[in-house]
Amino acid sequence: MVHVQGPWSELLGRLSPSAIPNNPIITGAFLFSAVIGIVLLGYVTYAGKWGYLWREWLTTVDHKKIGVMYIIVGLVMLFRGFIDALMMRTQQMLADGPHSAGFLGAAHGYLIPYHFDQIYSAHGTIMILFAATPILVGIMNVVVPLQIGARDMAFPYLNALGLWLTVVGAALIMMSLFLGDFSHAGWVGMTPLTELAYSPGVGVDYWMWAIQIASVGTTLGAANLIATIIKMRAPGMTWGRLPIFTWTALSTNIIALTSFPVLGVSLALLGLDRYFGTHFFTAGMGGNLMLYSNLFWMWGHPEVYFVILPAFGMMSEIIPTFSEKALFGYITMVAASFAIAGVSWSVWLHHFFTMGASPAVNTFFSIATMVVGIPTGVKVFNWAFTIYRGRSRFDTPMMWAIGALFMLLLGGLTGMMLAMPPINYSVHNSVFVVAHFHTMLMVVIYGIMGGVSYWFPKVFGFKLDETLGKRFFWYFTAGTIMVFVPMYLSGFMGMTRRLDYLANPHLLPFEVLEEFGIGLYTVSVYYFVRQLYVSLRDRSENRVGANAWGTGRTLEWMTASPTPFYNFAVTPRVNARDELIWRKEQGFENTLPTQYEDILMPKNTAVPLLIGAFSLALGFGLVWRIWWMTDLSLLGVVLTVIARSFVRVTDYVVGASEVEQIERRSRTRGQSPRPDSRRGGMGVFRPSRSNT
């Protein structure tokens, strides 16, 4: 165990009153969160919803609810990450040139360097790992079992565990805001800056354990999803008929399954350096600091494709639905997804092209990187030819999908530039790169927004408001252009990344433009929230039937919206790639099963939540070096897992007559829209009786 700077006690570790930051901005953030928290908790208590919350959400193993919770966590963190972005843009606008004014104790702008550094590190960590990843995992959770005609995931209990581990990671990050500090060394955690000698506080520990714990959840989720896709398909759902989103979910989870463990290794070794004084990534004593970059990006680059492949999948679902036409080049689309996933494993060095590797090494990784452009290009062409000779309707999901397509073109252009070492050297650590990967992540965000609005009616039974959705889209797009086009340009002016003060005053006009852009984003956030509110308020007018968009093609549009907890009353037999279209053509669209049968469903369980609670204590104890707490919580996790393995019965039976009743009720609701205030949008989720 290494010696740390500052006080340490047996009982509280490094924790002391001085760990509470004394800073007006943080105090404001704390008050804001506290008020929201109190209002939420107060509402739940006032409405007497604790029991409902416990039974229906906290202990659930239903893949749809777990997916929804993943998405909610992701959206909350997306908002937090957005606030970080707002603060960064404002700081860079204010701290321009030596004559810029300073506020709140900062020499320039309103943030001192150390605080600014934490904000950009938090922004990156949150956006990649706690916003994009959970939302995508959530969407895959909701959609994949429905698309393949399964009742649930292969391992519902494990699914809940994955969710709660992700929540623990997010909770640790939020905690770092109000207790101690966060890492200042970027979301990638550059060594040896993250070593104890250069980051003596608890910030890096927060960053490290938050990611570590959440990534365990993601790895488990990946194994679960792959097993689900391989083993849980409905009869007749051959590989050649698998919906394209499920294909991308499969390829993306192969990436997650294989790459997240390497992230675990890199963080664990960094942890050993910080806690035990080993020399993996130190500059001296035989360590190798570039080894960290190597291990980190061995995960980090596949992670990029982990987030982008599902977005491609969603685009490939949305574009055919709203073009009212089959997807062009199904087989090449599948091949392209797997080509991207495969090549993603041999391109990681381009994240540190400038470390001075030999030109042979750099050339190899450069060409491997460019090769990714081939399947990606094919996908773009295939989407275009899906639109060709179709009948395009511009509903909100389609707008997002098309937006994503154009973002991909721009991102592809700049990506091909960065793949070439001589160009890369001149912009490697500049804001040009920042603009590039934000363009690519915009593909993901556009895909997510499209996917959420596309499948929202499936899960909740009503559509999101179209007018507000489009307004959200346009403001968001204007914001994207306004922020990132100037950022590309400032890259050409030699502006490097991660600056809390800009020495070059000529950058000011660009910074002002970007600030305008972030203002547009803020407006778009307003419309997003308003869209949710209005849609929820007017839900009875926006009720939809099973086939919410009228032109759905795949299995999920055959079961009621909102989907009953057992998904399909009787497992459908699949006859075609676009099963619903096939049934329409054959005149079977409204053919119902002749008889219902008993269904075996997994019981709810509080065990994943309990393991999550222990993991939170474990993470907290590790961050503050409270050893009794880490020992006890680790023991708690192990004993809980063992105890759970002795539980014999984890399923229960839903009787055939009950299934029939639920089916009849959902049919009448789907056909005749009428106010149903008691059950609301969420009433779809029938209370499951038994808890374990």
């Binding site: 500052g6 360097p113 001296g284 275009a384 000779r389 000529h506 006009p509």
Partner: protein, 311 residues
């Protein structure tokens, strides 16, 4: 009401780029796009490949964009005159073409990438030798660069002098840099002269450049290195070859000297907010190697524990 006001705002916003472009030309802001104005062979190659890459890629992306937009407009649902073939989802010819185009592009760009990567390899500076080969090639100048938290030290080992936070090099002369860091990773970057190269503690990287024109160039550390990172710029003065000799002689008389102990004092964490520069004479021989060796043997220049919520 709000929406109306916002629509008004949006209309104003569309005007801004126009105003901004006007501002650009009048203030000479276009000169600030330093990557488009290379002043040395290395930056020149980087720029040339940028143009090449963008041209090739635009050759594909522009037609694709136009094609997609045309498809979207022509095959919109409201256009009842357009052909509608809901089942058409495969064509061997189209699939062949859509795979061939990206493959050929990548093959071409891959070849250029290979060429360019070897061209700018600082360990085998054919480019540099070639670009000064025609004239009477001056003897290369060696500069050892050490970064600390958060300053630059430029040592001229042959001249036994050193400067801090200011680099002076002669025009038209190949300059060989050896770079290392005493603390964390930095990145050596002079946009108009040379691309980035990492500066890593305990390791030594190399960079080579020639400046074609006399002038003042801004240098940066491009890799985040902690609290003083934003102030870690350095001025690069490219001077005539004679001026350089005079300057070096002048610095050799400067009262401050530098040995390893002096370096350790210099390397204490310091945010160079005022842009101070230092000059040192009688710099110990082998100081650069000594710093690397000390770091590999475990020497660290610790960062003090911050107060939470403060710097």
């Amino acid at each position: 009401m709000v929406a109306k006001r916002l629509r008004l705002l949006a209309r104003y916003i569309t005007l801004i780029p126009g105003l901004f472009l006007a501002g650009c030309s009048s203030q000479g802001l276009s000169r600030q796009f330093v990557l488009f104005r290379p002043a040395g062979p290395l930056a020149n190659v980087d720029f040339r490949f940028t143009i090449l890459d963008v041209a090739v890629m635009l050759g594909i992306i522009v037609p694709t964009t136009i094609m997609t937009i045309v498809f979207l407009l022509r095959y919109r649902k409201t256009n009842t005159k357009a052909v509608y073939e809901p089942k058409w989802s495969h064509s061997n010819f189209i699939e062949f073409v859509v795979w061939t185009i990206p493959i050929l592009t990548v093959a071409m760009l891959g070849y250029y990438s290979y060429q360019g990567t070897f061209a700018v390899d600082p360990y085998n500076p054919r480019l540099i030798n070639h670009s000064v080969g025609g004239k009477k090639a001056p003897r290369p100048l060696d500069v050892d660069v050490i970064t600390t938290d958060w300053q630059w030290l430029f040592i001229y080992p042959k001249q036994h002098i050193a400067t801090a936070n200011e680099l002076v090099i002669p025009v038209g002369t190949p300059v060989h840099f050896h770079l290392t860091s005493a603390t964390v990773v930095n990145d050596f970057y002079i946009p108009k002269l040379a691309g980035m190269i990492d500066i890593m503690p305990g390791m030594r990287t190399k960079q080579v450049l020639v400046a074609d024109k006399v002038g003042l160039y801004q240098g940066y550390s491009a890799n985040f290195s902690g609290g003083g990172f934003s102030w870690m710029g350095f001025k690069t003065k490219v001077v005539g070859q004679n001026t350089f000799q005079t300057w070096a002689k002048h610095i050799a008389k400067s009262p401050q000297t530098l040995n390893y102990a002096g370096f350790n004092a210099f390397a204490k964490p310091y945010k160079n907010v005022d842009g101070k520069t230092d000059q040192f004479s009688h710099v110990s021989a082998g100081l650069f190697d000594r710093v690397i060796k000390a770091v590999t043997m475990g020497k660290v220049y610790k960062t003090p524990l911050p107060t939470y919520g403060k710097a």
